[in-house]
Symmetry: D2
Subunit: 301 residues, 4 copies
C-alpha cells in the first residue's frame, strides 16, 4: 500500500526503505533536502511540504510520523490536522509519551481521523532485521495497516501486534525502554567487575562471545556488547557519559504512580544521571562531613 512518511531521520529513512523493499509505495517528507534526496534514490517519491505530501496521497490516506518525541510532534500534528480528511489514518511511530498520544488521539478522532500509536524498537538494525512494533489504536484502523506492520516486522506473523487502545502502544514501548535500561546496566556492571579483576586478565570480548551461545544471559544486547568490546577493547576512547531520552524517566514515574517497586530500572536511570553529574556536590559534602565529625582528611577539590 501507499503511505506518507513524515520525518526521514535515522529511523524514518530506514523504515521507509524497508517498506519500499517490501513493495510498498512511500512518499517521504523531511524539511532537509538531503534527507529527501537520499530517500528518492531508494525509489520513493518525496515532498517538500506537508501539503505537497498530502497531495500525493489519495484519501483515505496513511501518514506515518517518525519525528523526535516532544514539541516537534505537536507542531507537526497541529500543521497536519487541518490538512487531513475524515477516514485518514495517522500513525505516530516515535517515542511519544503515552499520555501525549492519548491527548493527541482524542483531538484527531474527534475530527474523524484514525490515530494509531506504534512503539518501535530495533534501532539501526531494524532495516535489515525488522522492527518490533507495539501498536495501540482502534482494531479496524490497525487491521487496515496490517500490510505495513507485516513488512516492517521481522516476519509477517512475528514481532508486531495490536496491544490495546490508543496509548497502549507507547505505554508498552516506554516499559520496553525501562527494561532496556536495566538490562544494559546489568551487563555494564558485570563487565566492569570483570575489567577490574586484574588478577585474571580476562578477555571481555571473548566472554561476551562465549556467553552469547548457550548461556542464560545470552541476548541481542550481549551480542552488541561483544561488538562494542571488539571495537573498543578498553573503552578509553569512549567518554563515560550516558544520555537518556525520556522513556526511562517516564517508566520510573509510572512505576511510582502505580505503586510498583522498580529498584533496578530506577537505579539504571540514576546511574545515567550520575554519569553526567561532573560536579558531584553530594560527594563533596560527604567528604566535608566526614572531616567534620571524624577529622578525616579531605582531598582538595
Amino acid at each position: 500500500m501507499k503511505l506518507g512518511m513524515i520525518g526521514l531521520g535515522r529511523m524514518g529513512a530506514n523504515m521507509a526503505q524497508r517498506l519500499l523493499r517490501g513493495g510498498h509505495a512511500v512518499v517521504g517528507f523531511d524539511p532537509r533536502a538531503e534527507a529527501r534526496a537520499a530517500l528518492q534514490e531508494q525509489g520513493a517519491e518525496t515532498a517538500d511540504s506537508l501539503a505537497a505530501l498530502l497531495a500525493k496521497l489519495a484519501p483515505p490516506r496513511v501518514l506515518w510520523l517518525m519525528v523526535p518525541a516532544g514539541e516537534i510532534t505537536d507542531t507537526t500534528l497541529e500543521a497536519l490536522l487541518p490538512l487531513l480528511q475524515v477516514g485518514d489514518t495517522l500513525v505516530d511511530g516515535g517515542n511519544s509519551r503515552y499520555l501525549d498520544s492519548q491527548r493527541r488521539a482524542a483531538t484527531f478522532v474527534e475530527h474523524g481521523i484514525e490515530y494509531v500509536d506504534c512503539g518501535t524498537s530495533g534501532g539501526v538494525w531494524g532495516l535489515a532485521e525488522g522492527y518490533s512494533l507495539m501498536i495501540g489504536g482502534a482494531e479496524a484502523a490497525v487491521e487496515r495497516l496490517r500490510p505495513l506492520f507485516e513488512c516492517l516486522a521481522p516476519a509477517p506473523g512475528r514481532g508486531w501486534g495490536r496491544v490495546g487502545p490508543v496509548g497502549a502502544g507507547h505505554f508498552a514501548k516506554m516499559i520496553h525502554n525501562g527494561i532496556e535500561y536495566g538490562l544494559m546496566q546489568a551487563y555494564a556492571e558485570g563487565f566492569s567487575i570483570l575489567h577490574h579483576k586484574q588478577e585474571f586478565d580476562l578477555d571481555l570480548q571473548q566472554l561476551a562471545e562465549i556467553w552469547s551461545h548457550g548461556s542464560v544471559v545470552h541476548s541481542w544486547l550481549l551480542e552488541l556488547t561483544a561488538k562494542a568490546l571488539a571495537e573498543h577493547p578498553d573503552m578509553h576512547d569512549i567518554a563515560p557519559y550516558v544520555a537518556d531520552s525520556g522513556e526511562g524517566r517516564w517508566t520510573v514515574d509510572e512505576a511510582i504512580a502505580l505503586g510498583v517497586p522498580a529498584p533496578v530500572i530506577t537505579h539504571a536511570l540514576i546511574a545515567r544521571l550520575r554519569s553526567r553529574d561532573a560536579e558531584s556536590f553530594a560527594d563533596r559534602l560527604l567528604a566535608a562531613l566526614r572531616n567534620q565529625f571524624g577529622g578525616h582528611e579531605v582531598r582538595k577539590g
Copy 2:
C-alpha cells in the same frame, strides 16, 4: 573420549547424556541408585562408589564433578584425592566459589593432578541446545579436554573457551550469574508495571512475544518469560518467594572488594532477600516511627 561423571543430578545427568549422544564414553557415579539406573538406560556405565568409578577408567583419567557447591564438593574432593594418580584431570563443573577453586586446585596440582574449573550455564535447556562453558586451568589440561567441551557446547567452535588460569572459570560464571540476577529483575519489574496498568488490560505474554522478535530487549530470558506467562498468566499459583544460590552474593561481595559500583546487580539480590523477608521488621519500625512524629495511623500487625 572416556570420562567419569560424579554427580548425576539435573545438571550432571543431562551433561552425561549430551556426551553420550556425542559419542563419548561415560562412567557415572551418584549415591542414588535410581540416578545411576537412569543414566545406564542412556548407555552409560555406572559405579556405586568413587573407587569403583576410578577402577573403570584407565589413567590418565578425566573426572568431571557436577555436585552442589559447598561442603559436598570438599567432601568429594577429599575422598578423591588419595584415589587419583599423577596425570589425572579433575574438572569442577559446579557453581563453586572461585576462591574455593583456587584453594582446591593448589592441593591437587601439588599432587600432580590437573585441576580445571568450568563454569557451566544453560540450565535444563543445555541437554538439547548445548552449554556455555567458561573454563579456567592450565592450557594443556584444557586442550586435552577439547573434545568434551566441543561436545557440551552448542557448537564445536562456539560457547566455550579457556578464559584464564584456575579460578577464572568460576569467577566468570559468578559474574555471569550476577548479570543474570540483574536481567531477570529488570524484566520482572517491567512486566510488573505492565501488569498493574489495568487501564490497558495488556496481554503480557503477547508483549513478551512481540519483543522477542526484533526489539532491543530480546533475549533468551525474555523467551522464557513468554513461556512462563503462557503457563501462569496471572502468576497466582506461584509464590512470590525467590531463592538465591550464592553467586549473586559473591558478585556483590567481589564488586565491593574491587571498588566497582554495581547498584543494579546488588539491588537484584536485595529484591530477592526482600521477597523472603516475611516479617519485614524494618517496615514495621517505619510505620511506628511515622506514628511517633506525625501521629500517622498505623495498621495493626
Copy 3:
C-alpha cells in the same frame, strides 16, 4: 497579632494553640463543630464559615491555611479569593507541592493579595517544642508576619526563616521530607539487622538510647525510635505497611528533572512502595523464570 486559622486538624489545632499561648488572637475555622469547640476551649474565637471567619478579622487580614495538600487546598482557596481584599495575606502552611504554590500565588498576587508558602515541620511535637518553618514569599509580607513565625518556631531567632520567593518554602519542605524518608529507612534497616542477629540477643531500645548520647547517629528520629521500641519491643502489633504522602515522590521527580542522582532517597520511597505491594507480581515472575531455565522448584502461591 490576630489571624484566622483555616483547618483545625492535628496540625492546625496545635499551631493555633501555640499561637494562643504566645499571646496572639486566633479565629479558627473548620467545618467540624467539635474541632471548633475544642479550639474555643483553648481561648480562641471560631467561625462556622469562611465568610464568618473573615468578618471577625479587620483588614489587612492574615489567613493561615492548614488543610491537607491537594484538591481541598484549591477548593478552599477558590472560595476565599472573592472574599479577600487588597492587602490581605494568605499563608499556606500545608504540604502543598511548590509548583501548586507558585501557580496559586500568581492568582492571588494578581488580586493584590500577598501569598506566603510556609513549609512546616515538627509534627505532633511542635505544640510543645516549636515548629521548623521554611518560608517563601515577598520580603515585606514575611516581615509583617514575623511575630507569628517567632512564636511558632522553637525560639524567636531559631528554626524559621524566609528562604526565597513564593514556592521556595514548599520546595525546601519537600526536600526536607525526602531527606526524612532516607533517614528513617537508614535507621529501620540498621535496627532490622540488629533484630535479626539472634546470636547477640540485643536490646534494641537500649542501643537506641546509648546512641542518643554522644554518637554520630544521634538525632531526634533516633530518640523517637527509642520511644517506638519501648512501646513495641518486637513490633508485632504494627503492620509492615508504610504510607507515603507525596513529598517523597515529588523529591524523586525533582531529582530526576534536575539530573541529580539521589539513590538513597529514591530507594527509601521504593521500600515504602514495596511494603504495600502484597501481590509481588515481580517476585512471582522471578520464581517462575528460575524454574523455566534451571528447573528450580517454586513454592505454590
Copy 4:
C-alpha cells in the same frame, strides 16, 4: 582508676585526656615520641614500649587499645599476650570487625585475661561532649570498668552500656556506622538537590540551621552539615572523593548473610565506591552500547 592507653592517635589521645580530666590516671603508649610528649603535657605518664607500659601498672591491669582496625591490632595483641597476667583486662576500643573480636577474645580468655570490645562513637567531638560506647564482654569485667565508661560517656548514666557478650559491642558499632552511611547520604542527596535548584538561589547553610531547630530531620549530623556549609559554601575546595573504612562493607555483608534487605545502607556504600571510580568503565560501555543499537552519538573519551 588507672589504665594503660595503647595508641595515642586522634581518638586515643582525646580519650586519654578526657579520662585525665575525670580524675583517672593514664599511662600512655605510642611508638611516636611526639604523641607521648603531647599526652605527658596533659598530665599522663607515658611509656615507650609495651613492656614499659605494663611495668607502670599494678595487676590486675586495664589496657585500653585504640589502634586502627586490622593487622596492627593483631600485631599489638600478639605482643601483649605474653606480657599479661591472669586477671588483667584488655579493652579493644577501635573499629575491629566483631568476628575478629570474638576470635581474639577466645585466645585471651583462654589465658585468664578478660577481653572487652567497646564500640566507640563521637569522633573529634568526644573529648568535649563524651563518647557513645557500645560494650561487649563478661558482665563482671564490664562492671569493673564502670568508672572509665562513666567518665568517657557524655554523662555517667547515659550514652554507654553493656550490650552483650564479646563481639556484641563491635557488632553494634558496625551497624551504627552502616546507619551513619545512610544518614549522611540522605543529607548529601537532599542538599545536592537544593544546590541544583538554581531557580530559588537557596542558602544551604540557612536551611541546615532552620532544620536544626524543631524539624523532623534535626540531628547532630545536620548541625555538622551547617558547619561544613559555613566553611565551604559551594564545596568547590573539597574533592568529590569519599573514603570508607570497613564498617559499611561489613554491614552490607552482614545484612546479606542474615537475609535482611538493606537497600539504603547498601546504596550509601555504593555511592562512595562510585565517587572513587574515576574510570567509570560501566558508563563507557553503556555509551558504546547505545551507539551500537541506536546509532546514538558518543562523546570522545
